[in-house]
């Protein structure tokens, strides 16, 4: 479980996050939604430790990440898997080597054990055929799937996804969403997805928090969000013409 308590982030004289409070439970897909520039990426970067919050605390299973020692942080980080917007695969390594990377760095497994785990992870994302290919030789959707395989290699307790569907066609986006949901249920991970993809909101949003201008503006789930009376939230989720047309069906 991840708890955020009174989190604030200030860059120079510009405050980006105001007093954010949230609880993300294991086995659930927790979505952070909001417009571009609303502060959701900054929030995610604070959660994974790429940015230091100005004040407030982030608790990973009760341990305050913001006040943790370097060793404690390292331990927590090894329980985190993250999938970046562009995949962030190491381009000098094959898909197989990318997935093996955390295993080689943080386990004392022998070659056979690592190969077996890599095979399992790649099979889990339906990419066992692409193990010898380099990131430059595969599509955007495949890159995301390899990144997911790398993220789950060490059996993480916490999984983070930054805009997992950006740059993907809707059908591939659905495949990625399904994969995120299946992995969350299967491994009981605390999954946090940073998105503005409305399909993800409806399909996998076990818990959703809506960030607007740095404030947590709304909290709920995929069933309550479409019935919300919050006009700003409604304007945001039914922004496109297509969604406006089908809004009444929810």
């Amino acid at each position: 479980m991840i708890e955020i308590k009174n989190l604030n982030k200030v860059f120079g004289d510009r405050q980006v996050l105001y007093d954010i409070n949230a609880v993300f439970e294991p086995g659930k897909c927790n979505l952070i939604i909001g417009q571009s520039g609303s502060g959701k990426t900054v929030l995610m970067k604070c959660l994974v430790g790429l940015l230091e919050p100005t004040s407030g605390s982030i608790l990973y299973s009760g341990v305050d990440f913001t006040k943790a020692s370097e060793n404690e942080r390292k331990k927590i980080r090894q329980e985190i898997g993250m999938v970046f917007q562009g995949g962030a695969l190491f381009d000098s390594m094959t898909c197989e080597e990318n997935v093996a990377f955390p295993l080689r760095m943080f386990t004392n497994w022998n070659k056979a054990q690592i190969t077996e785990r890599v095979k399992f992870c790649l099979e889990r994302v339906n990419l066992s055929h692409a193990h010898k290919l380099y990131p430059s030789e595969i599509s955007g959707g495949m890159k995301k799937r390899v990144a997911i395989a790398r993220a789950i290699a060490l059996n993480p307790k916490y999984l983070f996804f930054d805009e997992p569907n950006s740059g993907l066609d809707p059908q591939t986006g659905i495949v990625i969403d399904q994969l995120i949901q299946e992995i969350t249920r299967e491994f009981n991970t605390t999954t946090i997805v940073n998105t503005h993809d409305m399909n993800s909101v409806v399909e996998i949003g076990d818990k959703i928090i809506y960030i607007r201008k740095g404030y947590k503006h709304w909290e709920g789930d995929s069933t309550t969000i479409v019935k919300s009376n919050n006009q700003e939230l409604i304007d945001f989720i039914f922004a496109t013409k297509l969604l406006k047309r089908v809004q009444h069906t929810f």
Partner: protein
């Protein structure tokens, strides 16, 4: 001025970070071997060509400028050897490597920064500075003195071939000059310089790449800055080391 100081502070902290908390020894060994191949073996061709012709031209120029019958022609071999060992091989080769290797390092690390690969390393709990920079520094420290020695041999040999094929002086006279009054300390001085320059090239270029912000245009700018900063630092260190070691 304040910006320069801030950058220098950031550079020092990054280098300290790169020398701490290594991953498993087996992984680090593998990385160093890869960098030896990338930075060293990849530069062997250009270093060989440049050194050979540098020696050849130095010998011809020396021979062409000896007018007095009082100066023995063996001075050509001696002068070529000394200029090659003292200056050409350690400094000129370092400047060439600053261009070739320096831009390579800065663009490689810079691209990893803008494509979030460094963030991915950090989130996994890997000390990205150590993982990316330390092997490059160690590989450069190993390979640059070796390249310098190869450059010295090829430079002196280039001078020999230039003199004998053009008939300026005979081979025996050239070799007599090239082997006379050899000071071992000059050779050691050249190796010390090449090691210091290796550290400068690898660390300055890594620093430029590591702190890139933005996109591909900034990566290009960082590569240019890496070459310029490394070259200036090499010249500055060349002056300091010469003053400290030779006088």
């Amino acid at each position: 001025m304040l910006k320069y100081l801030e950058n220098f502070g950031k550079y020092c902290l990054l280098i300290i970070r790169s020398f701490s908390k290594s991953p498993k020894a087996s992984v680090m060994r593998e990385l160093i071997v890869r960098e030896l191949d990338n930075l060293g073996i990849g530069s062997l061709y250009i270093v060989s060509i440049i050194s050979f012709f540098m020696g050849a031209v130095a010998a011809i120029q020396l021979a062409a400028n000896i007018d007095s019958p009082l100066i023995p022609m063996s001075t050509v071999g001696y002068g070529t050897r000394e200029t090659i060992i003292l200056e050409f091989s350690p400094t000129v080769i370092a400047l060439i490597l600053a261009g070739k290797v320096g831009s390579n390092i800065a663009s490689e690390i810079g691209t990893m920064r803008v494509t979030e690969q460094i963030d991915a390393l950090e989130i996994m709990g890997v000390n990205s500075a150590n993982y990316l920079i330390f092997p490059k520094i160690i590989a450069s420290l190993i390979i640059n003195p070796i390249l310098t020695v190869i450059s010295m041999i090829l430079g002196v040999y280039g001078g020999y071939l230039a003199c004998t094929t053009t008939g300026l002086i005979d081979g025996t006279t050239y070799l007599y000059g090239a082997t006379m009054d050899f000071k071992t300390f000059h050779f050691i001085y050249a190796l010390i310089k090449s090691a210091v320059f290796a550290f400068v090239i690898a660390s300055v270029s890594s620093f430029r790449g590591y702190y890139v912000e933005g996109g591909s245009q900034e990566v290009g700018k960082a590569s240019t800055k890496a070459v310029v900063n490394s070259s200036i630092s090499i010249l500055l260190w060349n002056f300091i080391l010469t003053r400290l070691l030779l006088l």
